[in-house]
Amino acid sequence: MLRIRRAEEAIAEMVDSGEARCPCHLSIGQEAIPAGVCAALRAGDTVWGGHRSHGHYLAQGGSLEGLFAEVLGRTTGCSGGRGGSMHLIAAEHGIPGTVPIVAATVPLAAGAALAYKLRGEARVAVAFFGDGALEEGSVHETLNLAALYRLPMVFVCENNLYSSHLHWSERRLADNLDQAGAFHSVGGERVDGNQVEHVEDAARRAVARARAGAGPSLLECRTFRWRGHVGASPDQDVGVRRRGELAEWRERDPIRRAEILLATDLEPYRAEIDQEIRCALASARSGPVRDACRLEEHVCVS
């Protein structure tokens, strides 16, 4: 969690300074969800994300240098400098590709789960998506298909209450996303997304059900992002209410809560992580930028 926090704070600084120019969607404040869910996974499982996936990538073990270099458009980035912040890949760590079309990877995760099931592999696919994604039809289609074929997958809704600038109450009448799967026979559970052990416990149960062939589950993890939808600023432009909410949610800092849970001072870890980040940033900055003469490369693979 701390690694995700500090890495994203470093990216935020690069966004502010203009060094990072691609759109960066930060998950600061939401770190307990990728940390808790990915702790419940094992090698061979896959994690499917979206535009706000630095946390998923790092929680799965993706390299810091690969992330920073990607954000800076270097060929040494995890996606060869082609993707930027919104398109991360680390197949060796179970990240087959994150993309920013809202909800796009939810059916892709189901397809991977279908492949595991057909081949008789005890692997699980996890689809991470935001609360806005549950307003996309394809997620409801996928919930039904995943239930129908009893796919080994877990739907993880990171409900940070806002879809870009719109609060959930401006998009729905009822605060009931944990029930989104019920009509499609997918059981749901609401979890405090800022309490990492709660997230991990719920994820372990859902992953165990999926791996045992008992089908998919939906976890609604309640959280709040501290920064804007995109960029480094705290998004104050959307109004006074959000400013008040942010103050409340900072009191529920998942990292501070973890410190209390562990009864440990994380400061020594912070120094270690910061050193790691400094090294990764230095390496990333020394990577070559993509060359324009390779513009037409990789349209197709041969």
């Binding site: 079309i101 796009a104 059916p107 397809g111 492949a115 057909l118 394809s138 041969s302």
Partner: protein, 337 residues
């Protein structure tokens, strides 16, 4: 060589591919129906099991997305759309995801997916059951598009598509299903991106796409009886398309007709005409002619359908215009058919 119909060739390609490669799965609508796929997938569910031949709910978007995910997870899915009109509900997984994946991740991953879509025209079915939308997909980088016109290519292009590491849109046309032709018995591939010369000629080049490739051959026979020696090229692949073979022929004859089963504006024929005009302008003796559907949705009434779909007569007319043998027609060529 053994003769098969076009639909039998499609069926055999699926059957042989599934028997040879456990990664091949079929997913889409109508796969367990005795009629939905026009005989092209009969009994594959019984032979290979319904776990591998999934007849899905009507959820084109998520089903296509699942096929993309399965491809990324090492399978070789064929996602099936019995009418390509319904493909429009699956544009995100096809274009945003499958077609872009390799580019976005600098070739570190790609989507080896076959999307099979059927053009199901005529029969008074109207605008939402009859569309030939291939030009839209030809526009998209990273997506290959093939349209077989013969039984041998119906099989060979499907098998080639399944072996391609990139997403391939395979479009077959129900109007071709009863055509017969020689089809090799084993597994073979028709190279993607290679056109076929169906008839050699000196006076005019006719490039035909899908159903219109068959119509072009009929037109060539009529033209021959009038003393005009037409060369007929079956394009077979729209993306990539065989520019070399088309340009060589156009330079030789100096006259080009492009006969396409899609709409006129920004259609496949427009792309081919523009390329030939740019690359072979000084070898052309006449303006490039396009024979296409008019820019209207598909009608339902029988009389309007007959006016809507161009046949050999429209191609003959276009060839004669290119040779200066008739006055320039007014109105759209398709409507003149």
């Amino acid at each position: 060589m053994r003769q098969l119909t076009y639909v039998q060739a499609i069926h055999e390609a699926h059957r042989q591919a599934m028997a040879a490669d456990a990664r091949v799965v079929l997913i889409g609508q109508g796969l367990w129906s005795p009629w939905y796929a026009g005989g092209s997938l009969d009994n594959l569910d019984r032979e290979f099991g319904r776990g591998r031949v999934l007849d899905t709910p009507v959820s084109e978007n998520a089903v296509s997305g699942m096929a993309v995910g399965a491809a990324l997870a090492g399978m070789r899915p064929i996602v099936f759309h019995p009418r390509m009109d319904f493909l429009l509900l699956a544009m995100d997984p096809m274009i945003n995801q499958a077609a872009n994946w390799s580019y976005l991740f600098a070739g570190k991953a790609s989507v080896p997916l076959v999307i099979r879509a059927v053009i199901n025209r005529g029969g008074e079915q109207g605008a939402q059951h009859s569309q030939a939308l291939h030009a839209m997909f030809m526009h998209v980088p990273g997506l290959k598009t093939v349209m077989p016109a013969t039984p041998a290519d119906a099989k060979g292009l499907l098998l080639a598509a399944l072996e391609d590491p990139n997403p391939v849109l395979y479009i077959d046309d129900r109007w071709l299903y009863s055509q017969t032709g020689p089809v090799p018995e084993g597994i073979y591939r028709t190279p993607i991106g290679e056109a076929a010369i169906r008839r050699a000629g000196q006076d005019v080049t006719i490039v035909g796409i899908s159903w219109m490739a068959a119509q072009a051959l009929e037109a060539a026979a009529v033209l021959a009886s009038q003393g005009i020696d037409a060369e007929v090229i079956d394009l077979r692949s729209l993306k990539p398309w065989d520019q070399g073979r088309v340009l060589e022929s156009a330079r030789k004859t100096g006259r080009l007709i492009v006969a396409d089963s899609g709409w006129r504006t920004a259609g496949a024929a427009a792309e081919i005409a523009a390329t030939v005009a740019a690359e072979a302008f000084h070898d052309l003796h006449a303006p490039v002619e396009r024979v296409t559907l008019p820019d209207t949705p598909a009608p339902t009434s029988r009389a309007e359908e007959q006016a809507y779909y161009p046949g050999p007569a429209a191609i003959v007319e276009a060839a004669r215009r290119a040779l200066g043998q008739t006055a320039k027609a007014c109105g759209t060529v398709g409507a003149a058919a």
